[in-house]
């Protein structure tokens, strides 16, 4: 590694902790821990940015009528909130976890391609910059929804092109990250660590990385076609030129559905790491967890058109996609049963990571059930593009992915920083997040059932009460996340020393065998796994 080459005078005793200083450490970073840290800070920054946009949405929807924004800007807010949270916050956050934890968990000294790792991170800030700039070009950011449906995309201003370029860059970054993760996992495991001995987080990321490589190019294709339709006179999605706007949706959702599993499978992995440690009992059904994850991944490729029941598919198409989608409930159910069985007859304690993990299971499962309800084509036709769908995917993305990310952060923060975070504040963060999350999103089920369409800048009076409630919850949820920032910064700056294995994890993974904070270089000689 270059870091070692540039510091030949370092004493051998300090070798493991030695690293370049100043900006070079970060710009030229090839160390998986440094790159992981940068991924996490980047995604948290984007999370706050996307969160501010969400508060802009909830401000306007606080009461009926247009108070703050023009509808065209409101549409920019909803669109960019989605794009930023999906591509800028959740996805890079999981890659950050992968960078930090995969080498530590499999006993590898670093990621397989350290320089490519640097490149895949440093692609992110330019993409984020394009997204931010797009708000200031004529016509503003794209307002076509995060799904960027044609032909509305053709009407957008240059903000649309910036979004397309940003997504291309983010996609390239994801593909490189995935290649790196797959290669690292398949080639650099410690001797004795067979595939079926890998920690669940590593397993879920291995499967996720394959999903990413399979579908990111499909998204790139869809948005490139959008770009040429906009500027070079092609008619991929323009019926007047022989194209088909619905084809865009097929291509997009062929990416988009696996994408939602890309954002949840690593979350399953994190929760599967945490529950056994705090239940002091091995994970129930390890093998069935692996098979369930793989089944979900495979099924995710044959369910995409359930996002399109209202486009008017033939009856056989509707039935096929309905049945296939309902099947996903089975492996997902197996996972939930396994987690509950792990807790059963355990000896549980409820530190913040466990609170978030248990909260995840409880609230994510509600999102899973609304997903099953939406899988039924006739019900979906009634609820498609309504607030019910908004409620559903926030239950799986916020209560699912985001809560798992919080759980993982609290779980591994002692390993990353060498300090314990403030447990009391962590619990406050959990309870406030949980309560405000439900105040925000639970009423949206009612709004959707009663008939409120999504992406509406203004709404009829019958929806006023629940929108008011959701807006209050959203502001509470948003400000609660500043508490999270405070807890993390405080933990980095100091706090009680963390032991190498602060949670007393018996079978938690190799990361607990190295000191806390994890030295700059770990596992230079591979550990042996029995």
């Amino acid at each position: 590694m270059s870091a070692v080459v540039h510091t030949p005078t370092a004493g051998h005793a300090d070798h493991a902790h030695d690293h370049p200083h100043g900006w070079r450490r970060w710009l030229f970073a090839t160390n998986h821990k440094d790159i992981g840290t940068m991924y996490l800070w980047f995604s948290f920054t984007m999370f706050l940015f996307g969160g501010v946009l969400a508060l802009g949405i909830r401000m306007e929807l606080f009461q009926p009528g247009l108070q703050f924004w023009k509808p065209e800007f409101f549409n920019q807010l909803t669109t960019m909130h989605g794009v930023i949270m999906v591509f800028g916050a959740i996805m890079p956050a999981f890659v950050g976890f992968a960078n930090w934890q995969i080498p530590l968990q499999i006993g590898a000294p670093d990621m397989a391609f350290a320089r490519m790792n640097n490149f895949s991170f440093w692609l992110l800030p330019p993409a984020a910059l394009l997204i931010v700039i797009s708000f200031f070009v004529p016509g503003g950011a794209t307002a076509a929804g995060w799904t960027l449906y044609a032909p509305l995309t053709v009407q957008m201003g240059p903000g649309m092109d910036l979004a397309i370029f940003a997504l291309h860059i983010l996609g390239a970054s994801s593909i490189m990250g995935s290649i790196n993760i797959i290669t690292t996992i398949l080639n650099m495991r410690a001797p004795g660590m067979t595939l079926m001995k890998m920690p669940m987080f590593v397993w879920t990321w291995l499967i996720t990385a394959y999903l990413l490589i399979a579908v990111m190019p499909v998204l790139a294709g869809a948005i490139t076609m959008t770009l040429t339709d906009r500027h070079f006179g092609t008619s991929f999605f323009n019926a007047a030129g022989g194209g088909d706007p619905v084809m865009y949706q097929h291509i997009f959702w062929f990416f988009g559905h696996p994408e939602v599993y890309i954002m949840i499978l690593p979350a399953f992995g994190i929760v599967s790491q945490i529950i056994p440690v705090f239940a002091r009992k091995p994970l129930f059904g390890y093998a069935s967890m692996v098979y369930a994850t793989a089944s979900i991944a495979i099924l995710s490729f044959i369910v995409w058109a359930h996002h399109m029941f209202t486009t008017g598919m033939p009856v056989t198409g509707q039935l096929f996609f309905m049945y296939a989608t309902m099947l996903i409930a089975i492996p997902t159910g197996v996972k939930v049963f396994n987690w509950v069985a792990t807790m059963y007859k355990g000896s549980m304690t409820f530190e913040t990571p466990m609170l978030f993990a248990v909260g995840f299971i409880f609230v994510f499962t509600m999102g899973g059930f609304t997903g099953l309800i939406l899988a039924m084509a006739p019900i979906d036709i009634q609820l498609q593009d309504s607030y019910y769908v908004v409620a559903h995917f926030h239950y799986v993305l916020v209560a699912g992915s985001l809560f798992a990310l919080f759980a993982g952060t609290y779980y591994w923060l002692p390993k990353w920083t060498g300090h314990m975070y403030n447990e009391a504040l962590g619990k406050w963060h959990f309870w406030l997040s949980m309560i405000f999350f439900n105040i925000t999103f639970f009423p949206m089920h009612f709004l959707g059932l009663a008939g409120m369409p999504r992406r509406y800048a203004d709404y009829p009076l019958q929806f006023a009460d629940f929108n008011l409630m959701a807006s209050i919850g959203a502001f509470g949820f948003g400000f609660t996340q500043l508490l999270f920032l405070y807890i993390v910064v405080k933990c980095i700056k100091g706090g009680p020393k963390a032991a190498a294995n602060p949670w007393g994890a018996e079978d938690g993974g190799l990361e607990w065998t190295v000191p806390s904070p994890a030295p700059f270089h770990t596992f230079e000689t591979p550990p042996v796994v029995k």
Binding site: T349, Q382, D385
Partner: protein, 375 residues
């Protein structure tokens, strides 16, 4: 203070609408659940949803009572000692097979409904619904009323949206020309669009069908109660997506016949003679109305457009040129849709209006010129 008082107004309106004071016009509103079903299909969807809700709640309660029982009993602080088992093939097979059976039980009635929803044959009335930014066009294609054609757009005044006037109970759910259909007749709805994708959603009928430019899709309903039913566009279609509601009046067979006759007479009276030469004030007066209905949403009442998105018409070269403007209005370009669907008189009027407003002065256009420009 101002905000609070405005809020009180909203509250009062809401209370009125919920307590039914506002009358039958808003009878069909729901708050917690799906809209009260008014068609056989909507009924089936309603029961399917109830069934799903019951099954899911039961499973949820079952699974989470085990979890909360464990949380309560198997905690370290209560001296619980962890067991060490971590697999049980029988249990794992059981909890894979049982959900599979439950899923099949759910899928059976859903399949029946899907097939029924798709059966658009033997309709007694066929209506084409065209979504366009940001209004709905209705064409009665077959059945009683064949030939009737009109546009339907939001009737809520801007003053209510901007908070300068109190909002009424049908805020954002009222249109100038509602769709009128007979009760207990199978109505086939063919959807299409002229610019981007819209979706025609009538919750009480269990109908939601995307309207896709360049393609025709169909769905159907048979309303079994007389009344006024309200819905909205469900597919993001640009800035005024929230402002293109759908209102359907279901009337008795006799009332429907009356409406058809009235509508036909009205249409005949409104038909303009494109060969007549119109005077400048006539064109200007008519043009202003056409402009407000079709152009103002983008190009603004001031004719200044929106910078970066919609070009200004004041001082526009295209507006000043007769030929260019006629071609643009008829054919559209990029975000500007084609306005071929408007009549020659309407086009000539709006063209004259834009040529002579906001400081423009570029003469007038007669309907005959548009007639000639159409191929």
């Amino acid at each position: 203070m101002k905000m609070f008082s405005r809020f009180a107004v909203v509250r009062a309106a809401l209370a009125a609408s919920l307590s039914g004071v506002a009358g039958g016009a808003v009878a069909v509103q729901s708050k917690f659940n799906l809209a009260p079903p008014m068609t056989p299909i909507a009924n089936e969807i309603y029961s399917l949803h109830n069934m799903m809700l019951i099954i899911c709640t039961a499973i949820f309660v079952a699974v989470f009572s085990v979890m909360f029982y464990s949380i309560w009993k198997h905690r370290k602080s209560k001296g619980a000692v962890a067991a060490n088992w971590h697999e049980n093939t029988t249990v794992e097979i059981v909890w894979t097979v049982i959900p599979f059976i439950i899923v099949i039980v759910m899928a059976l009635p859903a399949t029946k409904t899907v097939v029924a929803m798709k059966d658009t044959s033997n309709a007694e009335l066929t209506i084409k619904v065209t979504g366009s930014q940001w209004k709905w066009g209705y064409d009665y294609l077959r059945g009683e009323g064949e030939g009737i054609s009109f546009l339907s757009q939001l009737a809520t005044p801007a003053a209510q949206i901007e908070g300068r006037e109190a909002k009424t109970a049908t805020y954002l759910l009222e249109v100038d020309n509602p769709l009128v259909v007979p009760v207990n007749k199978k109505v086939r709805v063919i959807t299409t669009a002229s610019d981007v994708i819209h979706a025609w959603w009538m919750p009480a009928f269990g109908v939601k069908q995307d309207a896709i430019p360049g393609f025709a899709r169909d769905t159907w309903f048979r309303a079994d109660q007389i009344g006024t039913f309200r819905g909205q566009c469900a597919e993001l279609c640009g800035k005024d997506h929230a402002f293109m509601p759908i209102v359907v009046q279901v009337v008795s067979a006799e009332d429907y016949s009356k409406w058809v006759n009235g509508k036909k007479q009205q249409m005949a009276a409104l038909a303009d003679d494109p060969n007549k030469t119109w005077t400048r004030p006539e064109l200007m007066a008519r043009g202003e109305k056409v402009y407000q209905a079709n152009c103002q949403a983008c190009h603004q009442a001031s004719g200044q457009g929106v910078q970066g998105a919609f070009p200004a018409l004041a001082g526009s070269k295209v507006v000043a040129s007769k030929g260019d403007q006629i071609a643009l209005l008829l054919n559209g370009k990029n975000a500007m849709p084609s306005w071929k669907a408007l009549s020659d008189v309407e086009l000539a009027a709006v063209s004259t209006y834009t040529k002579n407003s906001w400081g423009n002065s570029a003469g007038e256009v007669q309907p005959a010129e548009f007639k000639a420009a159409r191929k």
